[in-house]
Subunit: 498 residues, 2 copies
């Protein structure tokens, strides 16, 4: 999930200034209206050390009436706090109706810092997650507007920022030994952050991930999300009977702030035929061996393929299975659901097809149809596809908990390449069946799909079931990447087993 | 929780026959309507061995069209099932839209039998709870009607039934070695069942506890609950915009099936003055010692007092604290919330007053006002008090997880005794202040309160924060029971610590 976030985003200063000129007075107005409507608001800032939580809070309160908010810096517990239940310090710091409270780090400290530093054991971590979920649910059920921001920077950027802080005597104190340890062991810490986000990203209190390398970008995104959340709360307060709108994650309505993972994919990557043939042979032979081992060790394997029409799913699956023992794998092509399938939960048909221990199930198109075609074509409601991210993550977690290797491939090509392939298919009598009117219609919705895919990739790429984006303009390159990824994942898994 | 269930309930045969004559055809009609409306229904039967799950399923399907339902007996996993993720066997057994599936024990097997038998470790139990919660939420979000029944009998009754089964060759095979072990170690197994119910008693899939000693009573209650659930589902299907009604736990609208814990309390229990004085002196001295130990061991203690007006809360608290070091305890009297309190979450003021480690906090009236006076006087909405049971259990769980001793006392008197005490207060100039118009008004709502208190006692008595019902007609008896209970709980806790 976090590794899919595009941290190269930048915000032009002129645009930033212009937008902030509108947003600041607007936020001030909304604060006053919330006060009148007696709506309490909590804004939580979490994120990596030196990601700029303090600076972002400063930027945000700039627009606020100081009589109406409080900022709580959350540090180590005091002696008094240590002698109370963990959440007591936060219960006693709730904003009353009409006020805004901002938290510079928060109750999540226990499942991040304390966990990383080994201050609390895993049993206590489990308890803390339960307590946090109850806490946030109780508050939001009680009418609290709860906004959670996660400020994201990468290891290198963090190191750079720490170095800069350490270089000056005035700021060196801000970098602790633990900060440096977390930078050193960034991957492990990132995994904890990711687990935290996945487990506490609820309908009632979703996480908003803020790309925080560029400060202006981060500030603007936070402003837009706070403004939208307060507007929504005020609308709801005005019309309580109305169906509640779930607050979407990472997608401010503002297009300039939206995700762009796909647009960063390097589609010039390629491979010549010679190299391809050599590698293919080697990888297929290796996969054949691994398949046997996986069977003996009773490891179930789930491989999902999604991608643009003509993105190369079929070709990749063919190369993948070419030399595998057919008794040990199944390819499940996913078409529109039939009547029986439609009469069940949308995940039912996929659950039925899940491999047993030692077997490999390959899905040509998958359960992700829910958040792509069903979302875009309106085959399900907004609430349905919005909650599908969680449901899919839960299903894949269940698989992984039982020991399955779960990989998902997104076969990426650009629009021009797709046009070339469509035409080639039409001109080739053997391949004409592969291209239909529907393919051309889908193509017209490219931008809508791109937005949906970006959101899908971020929200459902997990440590236990990652998305692998396959640069697909060159088919040779793409097929080898798929094979190599599967081989690596199986080797890694078998190594863990032994 | 389970220990508060009244298992002495009986259903007269004539009443039963008359009621079933109405209910059976009604259920048949509802089944047909659900089929037309394409509503899928799952009915889960859990409960102790020999509690009559099979017999109850047989009774229920008697009214159903056999073409529209399937019964799944859930036994040990097959080899095929073992090779799939745990929930796979249930995903593949979902009813399609319009059909009913009945489960004779279910996915809860893993957190009950398998857990008790030590087949899976505690980490897997945690995973199973997560998976179960996701599973039920996904299904109900998808439109499934999910009914969960827990058939409750006690250790003695179970033993009797096992014996009867074992006495005949034809039925002896139905009692397994594990069944007998669970009877032997009933308390431990009951705790697991209670934990299961508390952790999976959700808004979307609440548990219904069925007092199953009397078969007729159980059958009727199950019928009524199924009928009400299907009627609700059909109403909702007819009016999707309508606010969803949460399904209440254990409270079929039918009065004859409701809870009656309070009516079983033996109010003739009493104690003479002589004995009282002796015991009081001894217990107060012991409590003084324990208070010191608790302080040194840094154990927080939370004691809540609720009860009828003039039920003796004040007198009991006075005797409890008389010889305790005042630096180590606080008595928090709970009145109507003031303006600041009203501007916060209803639990906020109680969180603030929670004791720090080593201290004792006594509450004269408590957070349970939410599910008593606020419920009855309409100071909060139905949804609010209904979800308060969960919220309160969560708060007390948080306290207990941090090591607190949590006890709640319900001071029970009967209506005549209250009248006597009210009059005595009015006639005594020193006590006139204790009695107001409001007390007389509340008295008129005795029956409503009784219903609310019964529901509260069952839904919020937990192993980590039990309710203690104090037979209060005799003040001497009541005060000693309170003191003795506190002394016992502290001694038990201190023993665990050392």
């Amino acid at each position: 999930m976090l590794e899919k976030i595009d941290l190269t985003k930048k915000m032009d200063k002129d645009i930033f200034d212009r937008r902030m000129k509108e947003l600041e007075p607007k936020l001030g107005r909304l604060q006053r209206e919330c006060r009148e409507r007696k709506i309490p608001v909590m804004i939580v800032f979490e994120g990596y050390g030196a990601s700029g939580k303090g600076a972002q809070i400063a930027a945000l309160i700039h627009a606020l009436d100081p009589r109406g908010f409080t900022v709580y810096p959350v540090k180590n517990e005091t002696e008094e706090e240590k002698m109370h239940p963990y959440l007591w310090r936060f219960w006693t710091k709730l904003p009353e109706q009409g006020r805004i409270a901002l938290y510079d780090s928060s109750w999540y400290r226990r499942v991040l810092n304390d966990r990383f530093d080994g201050k609390i054991g895993e049993a206590k971590v489990e308890e803390a997650f339960d307590s946090i979920l109850s806490f946030e649910r109780q508050l939001t059920d009680g009418g609290m507007v709860l906004l959670k921001f996660f400020l994201d920077i990468d290891k290198k950027e963090q190191k750079k920022r720490f170095k800069k802080l350490l270089d000056s005597e005035d700021t060196a104190w801000r970098v602790s030994r633990q900060d440096l340890e977390r930078n050193e062991d960034f991957e492990r810490y990132q995994e904890m952050n990711e687990e935290m986000i996945l487990r506490t990203d609820t309908d009632y209190a979703p996480w908003n991930i803020i790309e925080a390398v560029d400060r202006r970008f981060a500030t603007l995104k936070i402003y837009v999300l706070v403004v939208e959340a307060l507007e929504q709360a005020l609308r709801r307060a005005g019309a309580p009977a109305e169906e509640e709108e779930p607050v979407p994650l990472h997608t401010p309505s503002d297009a300039s702030l939206q995700e762009s993972t796909l647009s960063k994919v390097d589609l010039t990557l390629s491979m010549d035929k010679e190299t391809y043939k050599k590698k293919l042979k080697k990888l297929q032979a290796r996969l054949e061996e691994l398949h046997g081992e996986v069977y003996r060790k009773r490891i179930p394997v789930v491989l999902g393929f999604e991608g643009w029409d003509a993105g190369g799913k079929g070709g990749a699956i063919k190369r993948l299975t070419e030399r595998m023992d057919p008794r040990g794998y199944v390819v499940n092509p996913t078409a529109s659901p039939n009547d029986i399938e439609r009469a069940h939960h949308y995940l039912w048909r996929f659950w039925r097809a899940m491999p047993k221990a030692g077997h490999i199930a390959i899905f040509d198109r998958t359960w992700y149809g829910r958040v792509m075609v069903e979302r875009i074509e309106g085959f399900c409601t907004t609430r349905e596809w919005q909650r599908a991210y969680r449901e899919i993550n839960e299903m894949e977690r269940d698989l992984a908990q039982e020991g399955a290797v779960v990989l998902k491939f997104w076969m990426q090509i650009d629009k021009d390449e797709q046009a070339r392939r469509f035409k080639a298919r039409q001109e080739n009598p053997d391949k004409q069946w592969k291209i239909t009117e529907e393919d051309w219609r889908n193509r017209e919705k490219w931008e809508q799909y791109e937005e949906a895919v970006n959101e899908m990739l971020i929200r459902t790429s997990t440590s236990y079931a990652p998305w692998v984006i396959v640069e697909g303009n060159c088919k040779y390159y793409a097929r080898i990447k798929v094979l190599q990824t599967v081989v690596d994942a199986l080797e890694k898994r078998l190594k863990e087993e032994s």
